[in-house]
């Protein structure tokens, strides 16, 4: 088994920047990512994108080109198509190479740079074919140049408007944008404006985006409530209340978005402590000033450490690498301070965005008949009933109802289940905690397990 000073999971901005900085400081580095090429979510397909598509995706996207090129040249071992399915507490990492079996490596330090996922968006009809996330549409556009002329966008958050703008630029504007942000959010957010103004370029870009969308004539529906998707076998229409009226828009493609949240599978697997972040409405791993988790030598960089965006993701990646190098005897303090300063400046916009685009209440606490666990088809009402019987937390509800036991391993229901239980028991969300995550992180062929190389472990077998 090969071993490295640093193993980095994820080749998005955080993972790439971390690898560049670590190799620059003489550390041996391996980067594992399940995608076919580097880039992560924001810079997906950055190395192969056509000029036509690049023009649609904009300058923030293209900023990834230099980063990816530097990453390719930095000397780190990079394994694409590598899905990490287990990490043990001795930092031995098992990963599966699409159809080619499993390999394992070990590392002295681990950088988890697995980014964010879109927040689950439970509502009536959200399991119908034709309903996707807004991020999914963006992935189709970035990686495949695929567009759709029949899309209704529903939800809230900067990414929703970015996707809309990119669709507009591609001349396939969404049919409508249904905003679920409740009224009054702008006023609430305004108190964060002074700080946000220090990150003026973000604010300006955001405003320009919204202006462009409004000018384009795309119908906007504000403060939408009671949103549901109709259809028998596939999506046929979106219905909702807005401006005191009921609306129904016929469409074959509905794209949902309620912001992004850290992907916590690996930090949970490794039993790092997590705290509930009430501003971001999600669990965030508990980290020190240098992004080390509560487990020694395990770090989180990028959006996995709390949503901060692509620029911060790369900065966090660099900081973590510098910190690891420092622990191995390199003098990196000056550079760390430089990065810390930039990080602080880049984060100034966040409280404003978090308040303005907080997820809608009916998304966080769906009605009884809404399906929460898509895999096992468990509704919010069933979860509340289990709590009434006495099941105190997500793990008991999971054992009792099977929610979170399907192939997605709880990624699509976990956050909602925790919120429902907390609300129903009138407890703090942080107190209710989350599913225990067990390996494999992604489904693994039994035949692949039967064939893994079997080296003696560091633990004495019982």
């Amino acid at each position: 088994m090969k071993s490295f000073d640093v193993a980095i999971i994820g080749a998005g901005p955080a993972g790439m920047a971390s690898a560049i900085e670590a190799t620059r400081n003489g550390l041996s580095v391996i980067v594992l990512d399940e995608q076919p090429a580097p880039g992560g979510q924001i810079y997906r397909a950055i190395e192969t994108v056509s000029d036509q598509r690049a023009a649609i995706l904009g300058t923030d996207y293209l900023a990834g080109r230099d980063l990816a090129a530097a990453f390719r040249n930095c000397g780190a071992t990079y394994v694409s198509g590598a899905t990490v399915w287990n990490i043990d507490n001795g930092l031995k990492i098992n990963y599966s190479r699409a159809g080619l079996g499993s390999d394992q490596i070990s590392a002295t330090s681990l950088v988890i740079a697995t980014g964010a996922i879109e927040r689950p968006t439970p509502m009536p009809g959200w399991t119908l074919p034709g309903v996707t996330t807004a991020g999914a549409l963006q992935i189709l556009l970035k990686a495949h140049g695929a567009v759709n002329d029949d899309v209704v966008l529903v939800g809230s958050g900067p990414l929703l408007y970015l996707v809309a703008t990119q669709m507009l630029t591609a001349r396939y504007a969404p049919r409508a944008i249904v905003e679920t942000t409740p009224a009054g959010r702008l006023i609430k957010a305004a108190r964060h404006l002074p700080r946000a103004l220090t990150a003026f370029s973000y604010l300006r870009k955001g405003l320009a985006m919204k202006r462009k969308l409004h000018k384009s004539g795309i119908p906007f529906y504000a403060n939408a409530r009671a949103v549901a998707i109709e259809g028998t076998t596939t999506a046929q229409a979106v219905i909702f209340q807005s401006g005191g009226k009921s609306h129904r828009i016929e469409t074959t493609a509905v794209a949902l978005h309620q912001g992004v949240i850290p992907n916590q599978q690996i930090t949970r697997l490794l039993r790092c402590e997590h705290d509930w972040n009430a501003n971001q409405h999600c669990f965030v791993p508990r980290l020190d000033a240098f992004f080390q988790t509560t487990v020694e030598n395990i770090y989180v960089a990028g959006d996995g450490a709390g949503i901060g965006g692509a620029v911060s993701a790369a900065l966090r990646g660099r900081l973590v690498a510098l910190r690891i190098a420092e622990k191995q005897g390199k003098d990196t303090i000056a550079r760390q301070n430089d990065v810390l300063k930039k990080l602080k400046a880049d984060q100034a916009i966040r409280p404003f965005l978090e308040t303005l685009y907080a997820p809608s209440p009916e998304n966080l606490l769906p009605a009884d008949d809404v399906m929460v666990c898509r895999c096992e088809e468990i509704t919010a009402g069933q979860i509340r009933h289990a709590v009434d019987l006495g099941a105190p937390g997500p793990n008991q509800v999971k054992s009792y109802l099977r929610c979170g036991m399907g192939p997605c391993q709880g990624r699509m229901c976990g956050p909602t289940v925790t919120q429902i239980i907390a609300d129903h028991r009138k407890k703090e969300v942080g107190e209710i905690d989350y599913y225990r995550i067990r390996p494999p992180l992604k489904p693994l062929a039994l035949a692949e397990l039967a064939a893994i190389e079997s080296e003696p472990t560091r633990h004495t077998p019982l």
Partner: protein, 99 residues
């Protein structure tokens, strides 16, 4: 309907979905290729057998599971289309044998 921004397929790869031959662009994931071909139902849900299709396209929701070359539970959004791939809708797994 999903369409390609570029209208022509430049490096065609041929796959089969439920017996139907489909030409797709090299480098496309199975999910993207099928969505571009107008397919929406990829699998039957395990519990109610309702139709399901890709939701996240980034490997987290597992709604895009299909059977590829006889192997079930393959994540269409994470697998690149390859020439000659035979893809089928993943049926709800429970089929009682008559015993």
């Amino acid at each position: 309907m999903f369409k390609r921004v570029q209208t022509d397929i430049s490096n065609p790869v041929s796959i089969e979905f439920e017996g139907q031959k489909i030409d797709v662009e090299q480098g496309e994931t199975v999910a993207a290729a099928l969505m571009l071909a107008g397919k929406r139902k990829f699998q039957e849900s395990a519990v109610s057998h309702a139709g399901r299709g890709p939701f996240c396209l980034m490997g987290v929701c597992f709604e895009c599971l299909v059977e590829i070359n006889g192997t079930p539970n393959r994540q269409a959004c994470m697998i690149l289309a390859e020439d000659g791939m035979k893809i089928r809708i993943q049926k709800a797994a429970i089929e009682e044998t008559d015993r």
